[in-house]
C-alpha cells in the first residue's frame, strides 16, 4: 500500500491515459464515427509522427512560442509596473478604477481582428494580443499583492524609519511576489491562447495557422496532432512558470508545504 501511495502519480497517470485512449478508440469502432469528425487515436498518433518529422513544423512551433513568450514578457513588465504604481498611489487607483474595470470586462478576444488591422499579419499583432490578454491577471494580482501587505510588517518598517523606496523593495515587492506569480501562471496560459487565436485569424505561420490549414484540407487527424503539440508546448511553458515559484519564493507556504513530510 505504501508503495502505491508514494508512487501514485506514476501509476495512476499512465492508467488514466490508457483508459482514455481505449474509450476513444472503441467509441469510434462501435459507433462507426467518420474520420472527418473524430479520427481514431491511432490515426492521430500517425498524424503526430508526420507533424514532428516535418521540418516545417519546427518553424511554426518556434514562431508561436516566440509570440507567446514575447507577449508574456511585455505583459509581465507592464503588469507588474502598473500594478505596483497603482498599489503605491491610492488616489491614482481610485481615479482610474472605473476604466480599469471597464478594460477588464471588454471581451478582448473580440478585439483581435482590430489588432490584426492595426499591427498587420506578422508576429507583431500576435505579440500584442498575447500581451493584452496576459496583462490583466498579472496587473490585478500585483495590485492585490501590494495592497494586502501585512499591517504588522508595515509597522516594523515605519518604526525603523524606512523610506518609501526601502519599504517597496524590502517589504511590498517581496510580499507581493506570490500573488504576482499566481498572476503570471494565468498570464502564460492566456498569452499562449492569444498567440494561437491571433494566428487562426491572420497570417500564414504558427501552429494556430497550421491548425486552420489542416482543417481546411480536411486533415482532421493532423488537426488533432497540432492541438496535441500546442497542448504540450503550453504545458511546458506553464510548468516553467510554476517551477519559477520554487526559485523565487522558496519561503512561501505554497513551496514550504511540499517540502514537509506528509501528516501521518
Amino acid at each position: 500500500m505504501k508503495f502505491v501511495r508514494r508512487n501514485a502519480v506514476w501509476i495512476a497517470n499512465p492508467l488514466i491515459l490508457a483508459v482514455f485512449f481505449l474509450i476513444w478508440h472503441y467509441y469510434i469502432v462501435i459507433f462507426d464515427v467518420s474520420k472527418f469528425i473524430l479520427p481514431s487515436p491511432v490515426a492521430v498518433f500517425g498524424g503526430l509522427w508526420e507533424l514532428l518529422t516535418d521540418p516545417g513544423t519546427f518553424r511554426h512551433a518556434s514562431i508561436t512560442v516566440y509570440e507567446a513568450l514575447a507577449g508574456f514578457a511585455i505583459a509581465s513588465v507592464t503588469g507588474i509596473l502598473t500594478g505596483a504604481v497603482l498599489g503605491k498611489v491610492p488616489w491614482l487607483e481610485r481615479t482610474l478604477n472605473t476604466y480599469i474595470v471597464a478594460a477588464q470586462v471588454v471581451p478582448k478576444i473580440a478585439l483581435i481582428p482590430l489588432f490584426i488591422l492595426w499591427f498587420g499579419f506578422g508576429p507583431e499583432s500576435k505579440i500584442v494580443i498575447a500581451a493584452v490578454l496576459a496583462f490583466f491577471p498579472i496587473f490585478t494580482n500585483t495590485l492585490f499583492g501590494i495592497k494586502s501587505v501585512d499591517l504588522g510588517h508595515r509597522d516594523v518598517m515605519t518604526s525603523l524609519n524606512a523610506s518609501r523606496t526601502q519599504t517597496f523593495w524590502t517589504l511590498e515587492f517581496p510580499s507581493s511576489l506570490p500573488a504576482i506569480l499566481t498572476g503570471m501562471e494565468v498570464g502564460i496560459v492566456l498569452a499562449t491562447i492569444g498567440a494561437v487565436v491571433g494566428e487562426y485569424l491572420g497570417g500564414n505561420v504558427g501552429l494556430g495557422h497550421l491548425a486552420v490549414a489542416t482543417l481546411n484540407a480536411y486533415e482532421v487527424d493532423s488537426l488533432f496532432a497540432v492541438i496535441a503539440l500546442l497542448t504540450f508546448l503550453g504545458f511546458v511553458m506553464y510548468l516553467a512558470v510554476i517551477g519559477a515559484r520554487r526559485v523565487i519564493v522558496p519561503w512561501h507556504e505554497s513551496v514550504m508545504v511540499e517540502k514537509r513530510p506528509p501528516a501521518a
Binding site: 504588522g152 510588517h153 509597522d155 515605519t158 518604526s159 524590502t170 517581496p174 510580499s175 519561503w251 514550504m256
Partner: protein, 274 residues
Amino acid sequence: MNSQIDVAEGAAATRPTEIEFSGIEKRFETAEGTVHALQDINLSFARGEFIVLLGPSGCGKTTLLRIAAGLLRPSNGRVLIGGRDLWQNDQRDNKAVQELGVVFQEANLMPWYNIEQNIALPLKLRGASKQDRLQRAHELCKLVGISGFERRWPRELSGGMRQRAAIARALSYDPEILLMDEPFGALDAMTRDQMNIEIQRIWMQSERTVLFVTHSISEAVFLADRIILLSPRPGRVHSITDVSFERPRDMRLQTTLEFQSIVRDLREELEEMG
C-alpha cells in the same frame, strides 16, 4: 556583567528623563462615533528604568506604546524622547525615532528573509556593510539564544524563537529605548518565564530604558522598576507602583510574601475597576 544597577527611587530621580508624555490624549474617529482611548496622560521615565504598563484589555496600553513609538499621533499633548519632541510641524522627528526599538506582540519577521537577514534589516536600511551586518546578527543570535538558526526561515522556528529574533532585530542598532507590546503574550507559561529572565539580563547589560506592556500582573511585578496601572474608558493613569526587589531577579522571587502582596494589591485595584 553589571549587577550593581541601582534602582532605588532616589537614584532614578537624578537620572535624565528619557521618555516624557505630557497631556496626552487620543481619540479615534470611527463610523460608530469617537472612541476616547487615552486622556490626560502625564508620565516621565528616567534613563535606564524598566517601566511596565499594566491594565485591563482595551484600556489603551497599545495605543500609548504606539504613540511613544511614533506609529500613532496623539490627538493632544506632547511626547518627548530624550528631550526631543517626537512630532514637530506634523513630521515625525527621525532623530528621536532612531533611538527607539519596537517589539510587537507578533514577531513580524519578514518571511522572505532568513533569521540573520531579519535581524540585520535595520542595519541594512541604515546602510551598514554586509559584513558588519552579518557579524552583528551573529552576535545578537548568541545574545538572545538562537545561535545556529541564522540561516533558517522564520517559519521554521518556534514562536518563542521568533520572538527572540524580533528582540534581536530591535537591539541591532542599539536603540536607547525598547518599546515592547506584550512580546510574550503568545507564549506558554514556561517559555514566558524564561524569556522574562532573558529580557532582564539583556536590559541589565546596557543602560537602556524599557517600556513594556503586559496584562499579566506577575510578569509586571517580576520585571518592573515601576508599574503604571491604567484604567479604561478613557485610559488614564490609575496608580504607579514602585517595585524595588534586588536584581538580577529569579523565579524564586515569585514565591516570596513581598512579591505576592504586591500582586494581590494590584489585582484588587484591577478588580475595583470592574
